[in-house]
């Protein structure tokens, strides 16, 4: 790969990573739910572009339309519907302090462990699954993904459609006003 391309790749990655992390931090710390939701959208968009960087075009589009576009919009609907106030800082509540403190410490421990493991990952050599970037470029990512989806994974595919159906019905039942 050419030096400029790789430099651009690294730069893009760094930017996207930074944006994602910062936005994520805002999500969990901001007092107002709406701002948290919006920052979550930003995080998801960063991840979408990271998908693209990893040559997963179909997922890039899916992430944006479904996750950022539909799911988060739904979140925002509900937040506004419930008309929530700003929330007090968690550490203001004395009964919460222990949990927050311990939780944060453990989170730091966890991230340390995960980083150690991540760094030690060694890929097996060879062609792997055989779908090289050239193959993707030649046949089209969506086609390849679709072929896999409708052959090897057709059963889970059908099951997910049932899950969607159940979710729709469930949501309607739950949200319905009781007829007195």
């Amino acid at each position: 790969m050419s030096g400029a391309a790789s430099l651009m790749e690294v730069a893009l990655f760094a930017v996207l990573a930074l944006v994602a992390i910062v936005a994520a931090l805002v999500v969990i710390t901001h007092r107002h739910p709406v701002y948290s939701a919006l920052c979550l959208v930003i995080t998801m968009l960063s991840i979408a572009f990271l998908f693209l960087l990893l040559r997963s075009e179909f997922l890039w589009v899916m992430q944006i339309t479904v996750y950022a576009g539909a799911v988060m919009v739904l979140f925002l609907f509900v937040i506004m519907l419930l008309d929530l106030r700003r929330e007090e800082r968690p550490w203001r509540f004395p009964e919460n302090r222990l949990q927050v403190g311990v939780g944060t410490l453990l989170a730091l421990a966890l991230v340390a462990e995960l980083i150690v493991m991540a760094v030690a990952v060694r890929l097996p050599g060879g062609a792997g699954g055989g779908i090289s970037p050239e193959v993707v470029a030649a046949q089209g990512h969506t086609q390849l993904l679709g072929r896999l989806l409708y052959t090897e994974y057709v059963f889970p595919f059908e099951v997910t459609s049932v899950i969607l159906l159940v979710a729709i019905v469930g949501a309607m039942v739950l949200a319905k006003k009781r007829v007195e």
Partner: protein, 634 residues
């Protein structure tokens, strides 16, 4: 024929089963009929068994029938076995004969009772158990029958269980019997340990070889058996249940506590004669206890005012004579007295029942009198029975009691003979005190009851007459001449020809004469004091010997002594155990376990905060730990 010997207890057992399951569903009279039929059939078979035996030559009159194995465990091999020999033949005849008559009598006596079928069911069950007891060919089947009759005694004494005194009396009978049974069981264990078997044939056959005469084992076995007999046959010191047993219906008293169950002890001792012969010391003890009991009970009978109590103490006294007979080696005579006694004592009880029935339930003799005109049959039979009990020739009691006393005398047990004779004097006295007070003397009958006084109906009168015939004739027909009559010749092989001291004819006649004079003296005194009911002597004597009189009326305070020495301490101990142990320790432990579990539940429950973030925190802890382990383990 002998193969069917099991039918003798079998019929009453069948009767019991029919009545237990169907008694309430059949018309009343049918229940009585079923029971009487069962008893009657048993009697018929018993007669058949006797006929069979008589057809055999005299030295071959012994049949064992093993129906089926019962227990086979290690060395213990016990079968449902029956033994038919002269001794058991006599016993089954007595039991079925008197038993059948009492069944018939009960149809009339219990006619108005609410629980009529239940009564007859128990009565049949009793007959079955008693017959099994006397027909057993091994100690375990005998013990089964033994326990069975104890159970029936409890059930029948407490028949009117809603009456507190009746159910108490039933319990007392059962518990006191149990004490005796403990001795019996210990003896059984020793027998099995020594002989390796419980079969009569094995045990008695090897008695001479395996036991040292007078040795510890022999003494313990005989003693244990005798303790059991003491309980069942109401001798000192385990007699206290029998007077209380009068709470039961009168036919029960007649059958169980006069003619049959109480004689089981005598039968058992007689059957085990081979064992007792190996422990002469115990035999002497048997005789002494028997004689003492005879006199002791007779003294109490002299002052009792309840018609049934007098007869009850009389029974205890006469049982004492039977044991006296066994103790001096005259087993056959003892069993003979058992037979004659069954007739006249049952008759006395049934006669008393007749009186009570006529007076609408009155049992206190001070409220009777002059009944001879209104109850002629009852009076006549009662008189005959009293004469028989007192031992007046030629009635039944004379022959059997006299043999026993003669055996005592002939065996040089002069003190025992004297005690026995003193008892005879008292017997004559109290029997006729009773007779004269009830049937003659002054009329103290309650005015209201007097209107209803009537003789018993035929169904009650005929058994009285039948028993009276027996009381008169059985003695002389089977017992003459003494020790050599039909009875003795029939029964002797069963006792292996135990040596009874032969006494000369002159001595025999002399002793008989003495006995008759003693009896007549007793009757004369009673006649003088009680015939008119107005004689001052009884009350004056009671006044003058006030201490003695009170002691006798209170039965020597024996019941009170037992209460204080045994019953109360046990009761108090039980309460203490209950409070200190059951409540404090056992309940405490259980409660503490419960509290401990609850403590854990409460403590562990605090993990259930209901807050999801907390749960996630626990996941986190787990995840960090697991990952950490994997990382560090590399």
């Amino acid at each position: 024929m002998p193969d069917l010997i099991w039918l003798v207890p079998g019929f009453p057992l069948l009767g019991f089963l029919v009545l237990v399951f169907g008694g309430r569903r059949m018309p009343r009279r049918a229940a009585g009929a079923v029971a009487c039929a069962a008893a009657g059939l048993a009697l018929v078979y018993a007669l058949g068994a006797l006929a069979f035996l008589l057809r055999q030559p005299a030295d071959a009159r012994r049949v064992t029938v093993a129906l089926a194995p019962w227990i086979r465990a290690g060395n213990l091999d016990v079968s449902w076995g029956f033994l038919l020999d002269p001794l058991s033949a006599v016993m089954i005849l007595v039991v079925t004969g008197v038993g059948f008559l009492i069944h018939v009598y009960s149809v009339g006596y219990m006619g108005d009772d609410r629980d009529y079928p239940r009564f007859f069911a128990y009565l049949n069950l009793f007959m079955a158990c008693m017959l099994m007891l006397v027909l057993a060919d091994n100690y375990l089947v005998m013990f089964l029958g033994w326990e069975g009759v104890g159970l029936c005694s409890y059930l029948l004494i407490g028949f009117w269980y809603e009456k507190q005194s009746a159910s108490d009396a039933g319990k007392k009978a059962f518990i006191v019997n149990r004490v005796g049974d403990a001795g019996f069981l210990l003896a059984l264990f020793l027998i099995f340990h020594t002989f390796g078997s419980l079969d009569f044939d094995s045990v008695f056959g090897q008695a001479v070889t395996r036991l040292d005469p007078g040795g510890l084992v022999a003494v313990l076995i005989a003693l244990g058996l005798f303790v059991g007999a003491t309980g069942k046959s109401a001798q000192l010191p385990l007699y206290v249940w029998l007077p209380d047993a009068m709470e039961g219906p009168t036919p029960v008293s007649a059958l169980i506590h006069a003619a049959t169950m109480v004689t089981a002890g005598v039968y058992m001792v007689a059957r085990s004669s081979a064992l007792f012969d190996m422990a002469p010391g115990v035999l002497l003890l048997v005789a002494v206890v028997g004689a003492l009991t005879a006199v002791f009970a007779a003294t109490i009978a002299c002052v009792q005012n309840d018609i049934k109590r007098v007869v009850a103490y009389s029974t205890i006294s006469q049982l004492g004579y039977m044991f006296l007979g066994c103790g001096v080696g005259a087993y056959a005579s003892a069993v003979f007295h058992l037979g004659t006694h069954a007739f006249f004592k049952a008759l006395l009880f049934l006669g008393a029942g007749s009186v009570i029935h006529a007076l609408g339930g009155e049992q206190d003799i001070r409220k009777m009198g002059q009944l001879r005109k209104k109850l002629p049959i009852t009076r006549a039979t009662f008189l005959l029975a009293s004469l028989a009990n007192a031992g007046i020739v030629p009635l039944a009691g004379f022959w059997s009691k006299d043999e026993i006393l003669a055996a005592a005398f002939g065996g040089h047990h002069y003190l025992l003979w004297a005690l026995g004779s003193a008892g005879a004097l008292l017997t004559a006295f109290y029997m006729f005190r009773l007779y004269y007070t009830v049937f003659e003397g002054k009329d103290h009958v309650d005015r209201h009851a007097a209107h209803h006084v009537h003789e018993s109906p035929p169904v009650m009168a005929y058994p009285l007459i039948a028993l009276a015939v027996g009381a008169c004739g059985v003695g002389i027909i089977f017992g003459f001449p003494p020790d050599h009559g039909l009875y003795h010749r029939f029964v002797a092989p069963a006792f292996g020809g135990a040596a009874v001291h032969e006494i000369g004819t002159g001595t025999t006649v002399g002793l008989a004469l003495v006995a008759t004079i003693i009896a007549l003296a007793g009757i004369a005194l009673a006649r003088a004091w009680y015939r008119t009911g107005a004689h001052p002597a009884p009350s004056r004597v009671a006044e003058r010997y006030r201490g003695l009189y009170t002691t006798l009326v209170n039965k020597y305070w024996v019941d009170e002594a037992y209460d204080a020495a045994v019953v109360e301490p046990i009761r108090r101990g039980s309460v203490r155990l209950w409070k200190a142990f059951d409540e404090a320790i056992v309940d405490g432990m259980v409660n503490r376990v419960g509290d401990w579990v609850q403590g854990w539940a409460a403590g562990l429950g605090r993990f259930q905060t209901g807050s999801v973030p907390t749960y996630v925190l626990s996941f986190l802890v787990g995840a960090v730990a697991v990952l950490g382990y994997f990382l560090l383990a590399r």
